[in-house]
């Protein structure tokens, strides 16, 4: 697969370069907040990429994917609260518990299709959400502050913003690479084949259920790791991370960025988080000449623009941003 100089590849390359340069730029301009903002983009991009494996390629619309962010996050949070601050214990546990939960949910849900699948994944997510709400010892609804970041015996200092950023970037790149490899392997072919015609795949002899379940577990595990990163990043975890609307946000990122493409979810994460920051500013700037001071208040209603934007993307830009860049329409 040669890397052609298509507009899409150029954009992706530039994006990656820019992302790599963020801490440097931030150090030069003494604006640490940029690193904070983009670390979040990287982590959610990783979560969205994991969702893309099952949603974009596998056609499994999981409306409960944010639950793994929560499981990973609580693994870190609960262990830190109880005194186990070593990342070598926390992170593998985050991945393991997420994988196990995905196994259970997948085993039960993957027998259903379409909207039923959406709803049952939602049901399991709400179950975990309410379970988290009932965790009195760990803050319940109010959440848990994480006083010390995961410790790695001096190898890494996660409190160093730049180090943490590059760790997240590295993990993101590894995730994108692994999923791309997975998708282009026989495994990936089966998943994609099962999305378009499950019966045919089974007729050929592939135990599609097993393949799809494996993909589901991998997606959950990766997202669990993203959750551990997120908990370290915000220094805080609460059930709100697992609410169904957060799963909706992840779906939006995947679709907005471009389903079924390697970098689509990352692009979607960048786009969505940029929009959330930029739309209020844009509205204020655009409305100031006409409305003066009222423009500041008008900017608070930015979601009035964001909402229909989703609808427009769905109607006219089915392949998301990546699709627009590639010039192709996906079905």
């Amino acid at each position: 697969m040669t890397a052609a100089l298509t507009p899409r590849n150029v954009v992706i390359a530039v994006l990656m370069l820019l992302l790599a340069a963020v801490p440097v730029y931030a150090a030069v301009t003494a604006n640490n907040f940029l690193v904070t903002l983009f670390t979040r983009v990287l982590i959610l991009g990783m979560a969205a990429t994991s969702l893309n494996l099952i949603l974009g390629y596998g056609g499994m619309v999981s409306f409960g994917h944010a639950v793994y962010l929560g499981i990973g996050g609580y693994a870190v949070g609960i262990l830190a609260f109880e005194g186990a601050t070593s990342g070598f214990v926390q992170w593998p546990l985050a991945i393991l518990v997420s994988a196990l939960f995905a196994l259970v949910v997948g085993a039960l849900s993957l027998r259903t299709r379409g909207v039923y699948f959406i709803m049952i994944t939602l049901a399991f997510a709400q179950l975990v959400y309410y379970f988290g709400v009932g965790l009195d010892r760990y803050g319940a609804d109010d959440g848990l502050t994480i006083r010390t970041r995961s410790q790695f015996a001096g190898l890494l200092n996660l409190s160093d913003r730049a180090q943490f950023y590059y760790l997240c970037l590295a993990l993101l790149v590894v995730t994108i690479y692994l999923i791309a490899r997975l998708v282009n392997s026989r495994f990936g072919m089966v998943i994609q084949g099962a999305r378009s015609n499950d019966r045919r795949m089974r007729a050929i002899g592939f135990p599609t259920f097993r393949y799809r379940l494996t993909a589901f577990v991998i997606a959950g595990a990766v997202c669990g790791l993203a959750g551990a990163l997120l908990a370290n990043h915000t220094g805080f975890i609460s059930p709100a991370t697992m609410h169904w609307t957060r799963s909706g946000d992840l779906i939006v990122m995947v679709v907005l960025g471009g389903m079924g493409s390697s970098f689509g979810p990352l692009i979607g994460a960048v786009a969505l988080l940029s929009l959330e920051e930029a739309l209020p500013v844009l509205i204020r700037v655009a409305a100031s000449p006409l409305f003066g001071d009222a423009a500041l208040r008008m900017a608070e209603y930015w979601q009035i623009v964001l909402g229909p934007l989703f609808l427009l993307v769905v109607l006219f830009a089915r392949g998301g941003i990546d699709g627009l860049l590639a010039g192709a329409r996906r079905g």
Binding site: F33, G139, D141, D142, G143, R147, T234, G235, A240
Partner: protein, 390 residues
């Protein structure tokens, strides 16, 4: 020669001084400005702005710049916005926080960056205890204090049995614990409801009817308070079993609760008719500008502005002198709309709590009135757990 030198120095000093004086005092204000509870955030913002207007929008001669950030009632968003304020906007003070859970999440990044955090509402027990910080001050109260006052009042009225109802989150639990601390009668039952989802209290009210307590204590902030009172009346309990409240009836919910709130007492550290000059000016000017009465959320925000001003003035605008500012803040040396008060070692106020009742004013609007002082110089029960001593 000497005169020339002196003149040059004077000229340079004159030239430099205004430049230094022009550096604004930057304040970040975190509250809820979207969703159903945006109305509370707006009240806080209006009051804060009014205070700044009264100060001439200057503190120690320096202009004041405020950046308002919306926490969307979510701890995750609150911590993100707080981080942005201290890291990106580099504010000198962070003020606000309606919700205890948002405050708890946002505390660490702000105080770790050695920026002062002034809570104008939330008062979780953890920050009054183990998590107290030299960079944190409250111009409101500690969550347990207000219900403790109500518990005292209920005991004073000779209530023997009570049923407690509240929402199931940090503040809700703090409130019910607070009542239990001071209420001498028997708590027949306690119900914590889903928050903020559950708005239908028919189940809990049926249980009240079955349990037949002498009184019911309830804590439901914001819109939930409106719903609770409505359903209390609809269930026929109003008039049969007296209701005692904390933070359920305020200037924001009262226009919606109307008659239903008549005769329902609440406890508060501030009521709009407290007879000190600062308060009279605050309420009068607020009503002139916004027509409604300000709420306690607003009063606490108004105080926060003047509180910060006292510190800035004490160091003559040199905001790098954090220790000196803290020393001044600890004195509570400003004209608070609740009257004078002191600070405990954990930087929470030691203050009076009043009984408020609902009446109609001269223009037939519903408003709150002070009936009596329930407790004087009440201090929260967690200050022992705070290691700070001064």
């Amino acid at each position: 020669m000497k005169r020339l030198l002196m003149g040059t120095v004077a000229l340079v000093a004159l030239g430099a001084a205004p430049a230094w004086a022009q550096q604004p005092v930057k304040i970040g204000f975190v509250s809820t400005f979207s969703g159903p509870t945006a109305v509370i955030g707006n009240d806080m913002r209006n009051s804060f702005e009014l205070a700044l207007d009264h100060l001439g929008r200057k503190m120690a001669g320096k202009p004041v710049e405020v950046i308002y950030e919306d926490d969307q009632q979510k701890p995750e968003v609150g911590v993100q916005k707080s981080q942005k304020l201290v890291e990106s906007d580099k504010v000198d003070f962070v003020i606000g926080y309606i919700w205890s859970n948002v405050l708890l999440a946002s505390l660490k990044p702000v105080v770790d960056s050695q920026t002062f955090l002034i809570s104008a509402n939330a008062g979780p027990s953890q920050i009054a205890g183990e998590q107290c910080s030299p960079f944190f001050f409250s111009t409101s109260w500690q969550n347990d204090q207000t219900p403790q006052a109500m518990g005292t009042y209920m005991s004073q009225k000779g209530v023997k049995t009570a049923f407690l109802i509240g929402p199931n989150y940090a503040a809700g639990k703090d409130m019910l614990t607070g009542v239990r601390t001071t209420f001498k009668g028997q708590v027949v039952s306690e119900e914590l409801t889903k928050w903020p989802d559950q708005l239908d209290f028919s189940t809990e009210l049926s249980k009240v009817r079955a349990a037949r307590p002498e009184a019911v204590f309830v804590f439901y902030p914001g819109a939930a308070g409106v719903q609770f009172l409505t359903q209390y009346a609809q269930s026929g309990l109003k008039g049969q079993i007296p209701l005692y409240t904390a933070f359920t009836i305020d200037a924001i919910t009262l226009p919606l609760q109307k008659d239903l709130a008549l005769g329902v007492p609440g406890a508060q550290e501030w009521v709009n008719d407290l007879p000190n000059d600062a308060n009279k000016k605050f309420v009068a000017d607020f009503r002139a500008k916004h027509k409604n009465y300000p709420s306690f959320y607003g009063a606490q925000s108004y105080d926060a502005a003047n509180f910060v001003n006292s510190a800035v003035v004490a160091v003559n605008g040199d905001l790098s002198k954090k220790d000196a500012m803290r020393a001044e803040m600890r004195k509570a040396n400003y004209a608070s709309v609740r009257g004078p008060y002191k600070y405990g070692n954990n930087h929470f106020p030691i203050q009076n709590f009043y009984l408020q009742d609902v009446v109609k004013d001269a223009e037939s609007n519903f408003t709150l009135k002070t009936v009596t002082t329930i407790v004087k110089d009440s201090q929260d029960q967690f200050h022992d757990k705070c290691p700070m001593k001064w």
